[in-house]
Amino acid sequence: MAETAYIYDAIRTPRSKGKPDGTLHEVKPIDLVTTLLGEMQSRHDLDTARVDDVMLGCVMPVMEQGAVLPKIALQKAGWSDKVPGAQVNRFCASGLDTFNTAAAKVASGWEDLVCAGGFESMSRVPMGADGGPFAEDPATAIQTGFVPQGIGADLIATIEGWSRDDVDAFALESQKRAAHARDSGWFDRSVVPVKDENGITILERDDFIKPDTDMQKLGALKPSFAGPGAMGFDTVALARYPEVERINHVHTPGNSSGIVDGASLVMVGSEQAGKDLGLTPRGRVVSIALTSTDPTIMLTGPGPASEKALAKAGLSIEDIDLVEINEAFASVALRLQRDLDVPDEKLNVVGGAIAMGHPLGATGGCLVSTMLDELERRKLKRALICMCVGGGMGIASIIERV
C-alpha cells in the first residue's frame, strides 16, 4: 500500500421506521444525504474542493433515489462543484463497499480524500422497487433458483438446528444492548439530528428500538416467510439442499432487521490530506474483503469474507476486539458467531439492525461509525465489520483505532 487509509469521521442520521408512519418518512431521501454533507462540512470546516470523490450506497436507486442522487446532493448541499459523486449498489453491502473502495482509493495513493456511506428511504422507495431479473425474469429466476432472503435465513436456522427461541433470544439481546447504548448517549457523537428548513428537529435519536419487548411478545409474532415458502420458494431452496427434510420458518419481523429510513457518511483520507486540512484521524483501515457463496441460501458470506480479510491482514480472530455483523436476520449473526467462534461479549456490543434497523444502502457506513465510537469508548484496538449480501456475497472490513 502506498498510503494508510485513515478514517477521519463517520456520522449517520438517526434511524426510524421505514413505513408511512415512520418519523423520517416525510424527509426526502436527498435531504437525508444533505443533512450529513452539511454536518461533515461544518463539523470540520471542510474545504470540500479537496474531496476527490463521494460514493454513496443505495439499493433501490430508482425514482426519488435515482439518477445519481449523491452528485445532485453535493450540489444541493453547497459542496464545491469540483466534487464528483456516484451511487453504488452491491445490495446490502453497498454502504460498506463504498467505504472499502474509498479505503482502496486512498491506499493506492491515487486519491487523497474520499467520502463513503449510503442512504435509503425504505418508506418512500420500498424494497423491490427496482425490479431486476433476479426475481422478475422467469428464465433467470428458475435457472438460478431465486428465493427471498428470509427463506435462506430460515434454511440456515434449520440446518444449524436453531429454534424459534434461539433466534428470539438473540433478538431480545440486540434490543437490550441498543436501548442501553442509545440511552447512555453512546451514539451521540455520530448521530446527526434531522431538521426541517426552519431548523426544527424532526428526529434527534434512533426511534425504532423497542426496549420493552420480551420473549413473549417476540414469540407471538408470525413467521414472515412461511407463506412465501409454501407458495413454492421452500421447494426451490430444498431442491438445492436435498438433505433438509423441511424448512423451519423461525424468522419474524421481531428477529429480522428492521425496515427503516436513514443515511450515513464516512470520510477516509491520506495522512497528508488530514494534515493539510487540520483533521485528526479516528482510525485506519487494516484490510477489506469481498467474496461470494451459494446464492440460494444467500446469507452465509460473512464468515468467508471475514476470514479473507483476516488473512489479508495477517490476523486471527483472537486479534479482533469487537465484531460487528449486520443483523439482517438473527440466524445470519448466529452463523457468523459460530463460523468465527466469537464470544457473546465481543459480538454486536451495542445491538444491531434487529433493534435499530437496516437502511439497506446506508448500513455499512452506520456500522463503521458504531465501531469507531465503541473502540474509542472502550479504548480497544481492532474491530471487524461484516455483512451478508444478496446473491450470496459477503463483505468485511477490519479497522483499527489510532
Binding site: G128, G131, A135, E136, D137, P138, A139, A141, I142, F146, V147, P228, M231, G232, F233, T235, V236, L238, A239, P242, E243, V244, E245, R246
Partner: protein, 714 residues
C-alpha cells in the same frame, strides 16, 4: 385454392371457408401457409373490401399443427426458426388487413386453430359444448408458437392468460366468453350472419388492441405492482409443480412475462425462438410420442386383439374391501350393473357406501347432480348370496390375497358366470396360470389388476394366463375400455409387470439407505427424478407388512411348485430392511409408523432410527441417486419387454406412467431409454452396475429391439 373457399358477397364481405382437401380436419399442413398467403394477397387486391370472415367446412374449426413434422424436427437451427416465422407471418398479415376480420368458430379451435382466431379482430363461437377453444401445446412439451403466447397475454392480461398457457386448459363457449377468449356465442346457424352483422356495425374495427397507440395490457402492464408481485412468485410456483423437469411451461412463462416488456413484433420473434428450442427437447418428443401417438394407439385399439366389440351388461365383484368397492364404483360410473358380494351384508353395504361417499363429494364440488348419483348407486347391489351373481358377463374376484381362499372362491362362484362370460382376478401377486387351474375353463380366466385408489388410477393391468384365450383377452380389453380405463396387456410372470417394476423402485430407496445417503436426500432424489412419492414414503403406504407377506407368498409358491422363481431376486435391500423394520415395530403407516413417524395432526417426519441401516459412509452423488431410482425401473421394464411379459413399447410407457407413477416427462420407461439414447443408457447402466451392483446389469441383447426400431407408436 381448393383448401380455402373464397366467396365475396354484395356488401364487400369475403368469407374464407377452410376446407383442407383430403382430410377430415383443417390442419397447419404444408399447404396451409402458401394457401393463406394466396388468400391474403387476394384480399389485399380487393378494391371495395369491407370485411373478412374465417369459417370452416369441417366439423371442427381448425386443429393446429402437424405433430409428425414436429417429431421429425431434430435441429434448433436458423432454418427451423425461419419455418416458424413464416408460419406465424400469415397471422400477422391477417390481423393487419385494412378491414375487420371475424373468426366464425363452428367447432373446436385448439392450438394453431385458436391462434388463427386470436389474429382476428372478433371471435364468434357456436353455442355447442364441442366448440372448445384453447392452447394445449404445453401438454405436448411445446408452446403456442403462432402468436398464441403473445396474443393471449395481450388479450386477457398476464394473470388470466397464464392458466390457459401453462396448463393448456380448454374453454367451452360460455366460459370462453366470460374469460374474454371469445366475444360472442351464437347458435350454430347464426354464426355467419352474426359475423356479417358485426362487420357492418363495426366497419372501423380493423386494428388489433395491441396495434393501437397507447395500448395497455388488460388488468395491468408489466410494471403494475400487482403484476410484478405475480411475476415474482410465478417462477417458484411453477417450479413447485414442474420441479424444473418441464421446459415448456418455463419457456411459456418467460415469454408471456417478457412479451409485456417489448414491442409486439419483437415478442412474436422471441416466441418463435422459444418454440424452436422446445421442439427438439427430449421432453417434447416424449410427450408427443407417448401422450399423443401412444394414447391414440391405445384409444383407437391399435394394440387391441382383433375381433368384434364386446360389451358386458352385468357384472359381479367378489369382496367388498377397498379394491372391490372401488371396482364396483368404476362399473357403476360407466353404467355397468354390478352385484357387490361379501360374506356379510354389512360389509357389502359398506362397500356400496364407498360409492355414495365419492358421489357426495362430487355433488359438493358441483361436479355431479343428485339424479346422476341416484342412477349411479342404482347400478350397485350389495349381496351375500352367490346366486345374486347369476348370469354375470364378467365376475371379478377381489377377495383377500390368499391363494387357498381364492382357490375355493373361484370354482364356487364360477357357476354363476354367463355361458360365454369371463372371469377376472384382481390379484396383485398370485400367478394367474395357477389360479386358473382352480376353475373349470382356464381359457376364460384372466388377470384384471386394478390399482388403488381405483377411482383415480384409471389403468388396468390385464394378465394373460398360460391358457387364457385370445377371445377372453379381447373381451377383457373391451371391458376395461367400456369402464373408461386404460388396458395394459401383460403375460403371466411373478409380479406381472407393474409390481415387478414398482418393487425395484422401493428397493432402490432402501439400497440408498444402506449406502448411507440421508433419508431426506433419498426422498428428494425421487422428487427430483419426477416420482410422485419418495420410495420410503411409498413403502410406508404399501406397508412393510404387506411387502414381507408378498415375498413370503412367493417363497411358499416356490416351495409348492418346486421351482425357484426369481421374483425380487435383485431386491436384496428391501428383504433386509423390511424384516428389520417389522422386527422393530415399524410395519408401515397403517401400523403406526415405518420409515416415517406420523403425528396426529396429519404431518409426518422421517424416523430418526433409519440411520441404523447405513452400512457404509459412501457419499452417493445426487445425480447417481436420481439415476439409480430411474434406471432400476427402466431396466426392469426393459427386462419385461425382453422376456415377453410386455408386448409393446406403448404399453410399457403408458402402463408405467399411469400405474406406478414413472415420471411422465420422460414419456415412460422405454421412451426414457430412447431419450437418453440406447447406447448412452447402456453405458450408464454398466457404470452403475460397476459401482453399485449387479442389479443394474442387463444383457446388450435386450437393447436390440430398441435399436432395430424407431420409437414405436404401438
Amino acid at each position: 385454392m381448393s383448401d380455402f373457399i373464397y366467396e365475396k358477397d354484395a356488401d364487400g364481405i369475403v368469407t374464407v371457408t377452410m376446407d383442407m382437401a383430403g382430410q377430415s380436419a383443417n390442419t397447419m399442413n404444408a399447404r396451409f401457409v402458401p394457401g393463406m398467403q394466396d388468400v391474403i394477397a387476394k384480399l389485399r387486391a380487393e378494391e371495395d373490401l369491407r370485411g373478412v370472415i374465417f369459417a370452416s367446412a369441417k366439423k371442427t374449426f381448425f386443429a393446429g399443427g402437424d405433430l409428425n413434422d414436429i417429431l421429425a424436427t431434430t435441429r434448433a437451427d436458423a432454418e427451423t426458426f425461419a419455418y416458424i416465422e413464416a408460419n406465424k407471418a400469415v397471422y400477422r398479415d391477417l390481423e393487419r388487413l385494412p378491414v375487420p376480420v371475424v373468426a366464425a368458430i363452428n367447432g373446436a379451435a385448439l392450438g394453431g386453430g385458436y391462434e388463427l382466431c386470436l389474429a382476428c379482430n372478433h371471435r364468434i363461437v357456436a353455442d355447442d359444448p364441442k366448440a372448445v377453444v384453447g392452447l394445449p401445446e404445453v401438454t405436448l412439451g411445446l408452446l403456442p408458437g403462432a402468436g398464441g403466447v403473445v396474443r393471449l397475454t395481450a388479450l386477457l392480461g398476464l394473470e388470466k392468460a397464464l392458466p390457459y398457457l401453462l396448463e393448456g386448459k380448454q374453454a367451452k363457449p360460455q366460459q370462453a366468453l366470460s374469460e374474454g377468449m371469445v366475444d360472442a356465442v351464437v347458435a350454430k346457424d347464426e354464426l355467419i350472419p352474426a359475423a356479417r352483422a358485426w362487420i357492418k356495425a363495426n366497419p372501423d374495427s380493423q386494428t388489433q388492441p395491441w396495434d393501437r397507440k397507447g395500448f395497455r395490457y388488460p388488468n395491468g402492464d408489466a410494471l403494475h405492482p400487482r403484476i410484478r408481485q405475480t411475476i415474482q412468485v410465478s417462477s417458484a410456483m411453477l417450479f413447485q409443480k414442474t420441479r424444473g423437469l418441464l421446459p415448456a411451461p418455463e419457456k411459456i412463462l418467460d415469454i408471456a412475462v417478457n412479451s409485456m416488456r417489448m414491442s409486439f413484433d419483437a415478442a412474436l420473434r422471441m416466441e418463435s425462438r422459444g418454440i424452436v428450442a422446445l421442439m427438439t427437447t427430449p421432453e417434447c418428443k416424449a410427450a408427443i410420442t407417448t401422450f399423443f401417438f401412444g394414447m391414440q394407439a391405445i384409444r383407437s385399439g391399435k394394440v387391441r386383439p382383433e375381433g368384434p366389440q364386446w360389451k358386458a351388461s352385468k357384472a359381479a365383484v367378489l369382496g367388498a374391501g377397498m379394491m372391490g368397492s372401488g371396482i364396483a364404483y368404476a362399473h357403476a360410473r360407466a353404467g355397468l350393473t354390478t352385484a357387490l358380494k361379501d360374506m356379510e351384508m354389512a360389509r357389502a353395504e359398506k362397500g356400496k357406501a364407498y360409492s355414495q361417499a365419492l358421489c357426495d363429494k362430487a355433488i359438493k364440488r358441483g361436479r355431479m347432480s343428485e339424479e346422476a348419483r341416484a342412477a349411479l348407486l342404482d347400478k350397485i347391489t350389495p349381496v351375500t348370496d352367490d346366486a345374486a351373481c347369476k348370469g354375470a358377463d364378467i365376475i371379478i374376484e377381489a377377495v383377500f390375497e390368499d391363494i387357498d381362499l381364492k382357490e375355493t372362491v373361484i370354482p364356487e362362484t364360477w357357476k354363476q358366470l354367463a355361458d360365454d362370460g369371463i372371469y377376472g382376478s384382481n390379484t396383485s401377486t398370485l400367478p394367474i396360470s395357477i389360479l386358473a387351474e382352480s376353475c373349470p375353463d382356464p381359457t376364460r380366466f384372466i388377470g384384471l389388476h386394478f390399482f388403488s385408489p381405483v377411482d383415480k388410477m384409471k389403468v388396468v393391468e390385464i394378465i394373460m394366463g398360460e391358457k387364457t384365450s385370445a377371445e377372453t383377452l379381447r373381451r377383457a380389453y373391451d371391458y376395461v375400455q367400456q369402464i373408461g380405463y386404460m388396458p395394459i396387456v401383460v403375460n403371466d410372470s411373478r409380479g406381472f409387470f407393474t409390481s415387478r417394476v414398482f418393487g425395484t423402485f422401493m428397493d432402490e430407496g432402501m439400497q440408498l439407505l444402506q449406502d448411507g445417503m440421508s433419508p431426506a436426500a433419498i426422498e428428494r432424489a425421487a422428487w427430483k427424478a419426477g416420482m410422485p412419492v419418495g420410495p420410503l414414503a411409498v413403502s410406508d403406504e404399501v406397508s412393510q407388512v404387506l411387502s414381507q407377506k408378498v415375498r413370503r407368498t412367493h417363497e411358499a409358491l416356490d416351495a409348492r411348485l418346486g421351482v425357484e422363481s426369481d421374483f425380487g431376486h435383485h431386491n436384496t435391500a428391501s428383504a433386509r430392511v423390511v424384516d428389520a423394520m417389522i422386527a422393530q415395530g415399524r410395519g408401515g403407516r397403517h401400523y403406526g409408523g415405518g420409515f416415517y413417524d406420523y403425528a396426529s395432526d396429519g404431518t409426518k417426519s422421517l424416523w430418526p432410527g433409519l440411520s441404523q441401516f447405513a452400512q457404509g459412509n459412501a457419499e452417493v452423488p445426487m445425480e447417481d441417486a436420481i439415476d439409480r431410482l430411474l434406471y432400476r425401473q427402466a431396466i426392469e421394464t426393459l427386462r419385461c419387454l425382453d422376456e415377453g411379459v410386455l408386448n409393446t413399447e406403448v404399453e410399457a410407457n403408458l402402463g408405467g406412467i399411469f400405474a406406478i407413477g414413472f415420471p411422465a416427462h420422460t414419456g415412460g420407461a422405454i421412451q426414457f431409454i430412447r431419450g437418453i439414447g440406447v447406447d448412452a443408457f447402456n453405458a450408464r447402466a454398466k457404470a452403475l452396475a460397476e459401482r453399485y451392483g449387479e442389479r443394474f446389469a442387463i444383457p446388450d441383447a435386450a437393447f436390440d429391439r430398441l435399436r432395430d426400431s424407431a420409437a414405436e407408436a404401438a
